[in-house]
């Protein structure tokens, strides 16, 4: 294809997105669009899968049968999200094995929030309330993103995440209405999860490298800082209902801006965790790699069995 032809295709492509048309797997797309989407969707899928670990950590210790069942269901939902995000990503011409390989070798990233440890039962509530709350704010605009399979997956993901968020809040509310020990547990969880949750929106706008292109492709509708502000504004009144204190002395309502002002994020910590040196980065990847390696004989057996079955079926067909 000549440069002119490619340029022509690109113009048609950009015009389709501008008209809010969906791009589907078999449509022509610029290589950069494909690569950017593979990066973002696989990163999103990896986040779901790695995110199962810190919550899975409390399944065996959940304090009641009702909470155990709810946590199992939640982690199962996350595995489901991982499954259809991987499938959406596969439509762009990458295999699941390749994506796993990228995760296991550190080439692909996942949400840094899951590199923090879950130390008490209240962390389950805090993750639902704050982490899923932040994820929803990041993800709702993606329900209208330009790539069809991703947009459709996100509609389902967002519905379930919003249920998880309410469930997390309700779980914390129960603690906050409980004994002083329980309320302290909730406060301690908020202390540890607040700042990492704010970091989930990524670097400040002047440091964010992908924003402009992502806006054009509707992978992003608002900037990192706008989304972060939305999260703070939404969450502060909820903390007031819970009766626990957000660990930020600079947090206050700004009448003029119509928003909450908040303190400075520790970006050194953010970059440290992103670069693989957070409290649990190594443990999370070790767990994923170990599950994959220990499962190799199982996957090989399934392939061997399927081949034998196929051969048997062929022989049967020949005989009849």
């Amino acid at each position: 294809m000549s440069e002119k032809e490619i340029k022509n295709l690109e113009e048609i492509f950009e015009a389709r997105i501008a008209r809010d048309e969906k791009i589907e797997p078999k449509d022509w797309m610029p290589e950069k669009y494909r690569k950017t989407h593979i990066r973002q969707i696989s990163q999103h899928a990896h986040s779901e899968i790695v995110g199962m670990l810190p919550e899975g950590n409390w399944i065996t210790r959940a304090p009641s049968l009702r909470r155990k069942a709810a946590l199992l269901a939640k982690v199962q939902d996350e595995a489901g999200h991982g499954l259809y995000l991987y499938s959406a990503c596969e439509t762009l011409g990458i295999s699941r094995e390749e994506m796993y390989e990228q995760l296991h070798t550190g080439k692909a990233k996942y949400s840094s929030i899951f590199n923090y440890p879950t130390l008490t039962w209240a962390d389950m509530g805090a993750i639902g309330w704050l982490v899923d709350g932040a994820a929803i704010i990041n993800q709702v605009p993606l329900c209208n993103t330009s790539y069809g399979p991703y947009a459709r997956a996100m509609i389902r993901v967002c519905k379930e995440e919003s249920f998880h968020q309410r469930q997390g809040f309700e779980s914390l509310l129960t603690l906050c209405k409980g004994t002083p020990d329980q309320k302290n547990m909730a406060q301690d969880a908020l202390n540890r999860w607040w700042w990492p949750s704010l970091m989930m929106f990524g670097p400040t706008d002047d440091e964010s490298t992908h924003t402009e292109q992502s806006m054009k492709w509707k992978l992003k509708r608002k900037t990192n800082d706008e989304l972060r502000q939305q999260f703070v504004d939404q969450t502060v009144p909820q903390a007031e209902i819970l009766g626990i204190t957000i660990p930020d002395p600079d947090l206050k309502w700004n009448e003029e801006r119509g928003h909450y002002d908040f303190g400075k994020i520790n970006w050194d910590e953010f970059w440290q965790v992103v670069k693989g040196h957070g409290p649990c980065n190594k443990q999370r990847i070790k767990d994923r790699v170990s599950a994959w390696e220990k499962g190799a004989w199982v996957r090989d057996a399934a392939i061997a069995y399927a081949e034998k079955q196929e051969k048997r079926n062929q022989e049967e067909r020949k005989a009849s």
Partner: protein, 251 residues
């Protein structure tokens, strides 16, 4: 009807669901594939759901104001009446599958009988459970075949699993905790009647999976009498951790 014997009877069923659900809950996020992870979590979730229905009913029967959580979390080790099979550890995926299949096959036969119980609540729980457990059994049975008749390595591993778990299967039919009176009233299931079909079904599947059926001797019993394995205390310390550390609180 003797309330106490009905209460005990419900526990001999439900404790299996709780303990197996707990074992499967340990695996979340650590399975050989995303699909098997989802299935394992799903089975655990079904079992915990059934546990709740059984315990809620047991608490009602007892009438002492206990909750499902008191029954689940606040008993001593010797007061749990699950059989030894379901508390066996998740050594590797083959053990998870083998344990599941040997349990599912029994439990489905059992629920099929329990749905005819003259006790309406038990019958209703059984009817709902049958749908779930039929799926569990299909899943575990399919995987026994894949692993048994898969690669050379998986075949050897699966045979080792079957041999290792086999001593625990006869306890499934042990009548400890099932009073004759309850059977006579048509409330409880006479387990001895399920034994033959069970061994027939399991043997047929193992043969299909090219696995040898171990000889029927040297069986081990104990769980139903409250005499558990060394693994069990550790399982309970996770299960009971929150309720023991923070007693009398609402979660």
């Amino acid at each position: 009807m003797n309330k106490e014997s009905l209460y005990d009877y419900i526990l001999t069923i439900a404790d299996n669901c709780l303990i197996l659900g707990q074992r499967l809950g340990e695996l979340c996020g650590h399975g050989p594939s995303l699909e098997t992870d989802i299935a394992g979590t799903n089975i655990s979730l079904d079992l915990i759901g059934q546990t709740r229905s059984f315990y809620q009913y047991a608490a009602d029967i007892e009438g002492k104001g206990k909750t499902e959580d008191d029954i689940a979390f606040l008993r001593l080790e010797k007061d749990y009446k699950n059989c030894l099979l379901v508390e066996q550890p998740n050594d590797h995926f083959g053990y998870v599958i083998g344990r599941q299949y040997l349990w599912d096959t029994f439990y489905l036969l059992f629920l099929n009988e329990l749905q005819n119980s003259s006790d309406e609540t038990l019958s209703a729980i059984a009817k709902k459970g049958i749908k779930e457990v039929s799926y569990h059994r299909r899943f575990s049975g399919d995987w026994v075949k894949r692993l048994g008749d898969g690669s050379e390595e998986s075949h050897l591993k699966m045979q080792e699993v079957v041999n290792g778990l086999w001593p625990y299967v006869d306890e499934l039919f042990d009548m400890t905790g099932v009073s004759k009176e309850l059977i006579k009233q048509g409330i409880a299931v006479d387990l001895s009647k399920l034994r033959e079909t069970y061994f027939k079904q399991v043997s047929a599947l193992l043969e299909e999976a090219t696995l040898e059926v171990p000889e029927r001797k040297y069986f081990v019993y104990g769980g139903k009498k409250g005499v558990h394995s060394e693994y069990f205390g550790y399982l309970l310390s996770d299960l009971q951790y929150m309720q023991r550390t923070y007693p009398n609180m609402t979660w």
